[in-house]
Amino acid sequence: MSGNCQVSYEGRASSTLGWGERLLIIKTDGSVLVHRPEGYEPVNWQPAGCVFQVEVEDEELRIRAARLQPREVLNIFFNRVLHLSTLTLTDEGDFSLYVSEQDMKRAILLAPKLVGEDFRPLTSEKELGAAGFVDVVGEDSEGRLVVVEIKRNPAGREAVRQLQRYIKAVGMRTERPLRGIIAAPSLTREAQALLSREGLEFKPVSLKRCYEVLKFEKTRKLSEFFPE
């Protein structure tokens, strides 16, 4: 529905929004969104599971959406309703996102926590001679070099062997202790056995998380400022 309303929120913090024309969306699962005329984010919202109280008082339509854990109350009071529609929507569609291995690598470089809490990327697309190009090399808090092989599909034994080859090639050029990690949405059963035998590691990295990191990344690249 849309109309002239005022909004107040009390819970983990508190906020008030004075009178103005906005869109209110209440979904069947009890989630609530208040959208101002501009911007893509709601100005106030509640997640699913709200309990609603609606009444008319002092010529205002008063809607209260409340949750308990944590206790949060969102009050939306309308003094003028421009439109109201109720819809029963059915959505069984699959949301599939296309995230390539390059995308996953960019996401990992932007959000290294995807690989590990203390992971710090150092180089990417590192050439290792005959072994090829390794996706990402970084270090951990103990100064060990960490070699990361990224796969967008479930990683199989071939990915583990690839990682082994990279570790061997990197090992020839450095004295530092090494760790190898496969970053992929999942690992096949056969690969799991080979991985643990070789002392290598697996970090589940979901395509969805990578998509979110890339979509919401706020830092620009220096190359945007290079001369043409």
């Binding site: 932007l110 150092l122 180089t123 450095t174 830092t219 220096l222 400022f225």
Partner: protein, 249 residues
């Protein structure tokens, strides 16, 4: 043929540490005029531009230009314990393709580092004009950024004709550090109108901390929503300059 001698090994170690904040493998351009390096971090958000002319070295010999690539982390590990007054000699051994290091102090120590395949890509510098150019005490800037890093992972840097303001925004409360143009820590202050931009604290902190170990004077230059250029003054036309891309609001 390439050989150089550095009289202050600790200063060299600090410069190498400054470069290692962004890259693990350093590809140095070695020329008869001196050393240079320009590199971006893997996510291409930050850049370091380093130059050390031959006059900065106690001795410097280079007969022909070449590229020397080595693992800075390994070099720093070998230099972990460096004392005041120790000299460092670096020589290229073309037969073994290693860089030989000799530290001379109370006694002599020798190490050698394997040379790596240098990266071929050339890194240009960003094309920028700066509305705000402020030269100040590097330690003061380092302290300010450290204060901000305690509360926030991003810092808003604003300048107008009267002052430079750094703000760390957090849910619990903001940290605001102000440097007026008349402040003792400010050595030169040129601001046209206003400038304001947002940067990630983590990179900034690494860069400023490393640079402050090598220099007492830093220039901060930026324009609204543009990359910041942080230049640490080195003696004898040496250069240690960082660029950091801004964040979107």
């Amino acid at each position: 043929m390439f050989r150089l001698v550095i009289s202050d090994s600790r200063a060299w170690k600090n410069l190498m540490a400054a470069i290692s904040t962004l890259v693990e493998e350093a590809s140095f351009d070695v020329k008869p005029e001196g050393l240079a390096l320009r590199a971006m971090d893997p996510s291409h958000v930050a850049m370091v531009d380093f130059e050390y002319p031959k006059e900065s070295f106690q001795e410097y010999e280079c007969t022909e230009p070449s590229k020397l690539c080595l693992d800075i982390g390994d070099m720093l590990k070998l230099m972990r314990r460096v004392e005041a007054g120790e000299t460092l000699e670096l020589t290229l051994d073309p037969q073994t393709n290693h860089l030989n290091m000799k530290l001379t102090g109370k006694y002599k120590r020798r190490f050698s580092l394997p040379l790596l395949q240098p990266s071929v890509s050339e890194v240009p510098t960003p094309k920028l004009t700066f509305d705000a150019q402020i030269k100040m005490d590097a330690d003061c800037l380092n302290d300010a950024i450290t204060d901000i890093s305690n509360v926030s992972d991003q810092v808003k840097i604003e300048a107008d004709e009267e002052k430079l303001v750094l703000t760390g925004l957090s849910e619990t409360g903001n940290v605001v550090v102000e440097f007026e143009r008349a402040n003792q820590a400010v050595l030169d202050f040129q601001v046209k109108g206003e400038a304001k931009a947002l940067y990630g604290v983590s990179f900034l902190q690494d860069m400023v901390k490393a640079g402050a170990a090598s220099s007492k004077v830093v220039s901060v230059e930026f324009s609204t929503d543009k990359p910041v250029k942080i230049d640490f003054e080195l003696p004898l036309q040496g250069k240690l300059t960082y660029y950091l891309a801004p964040r979107l609001e």
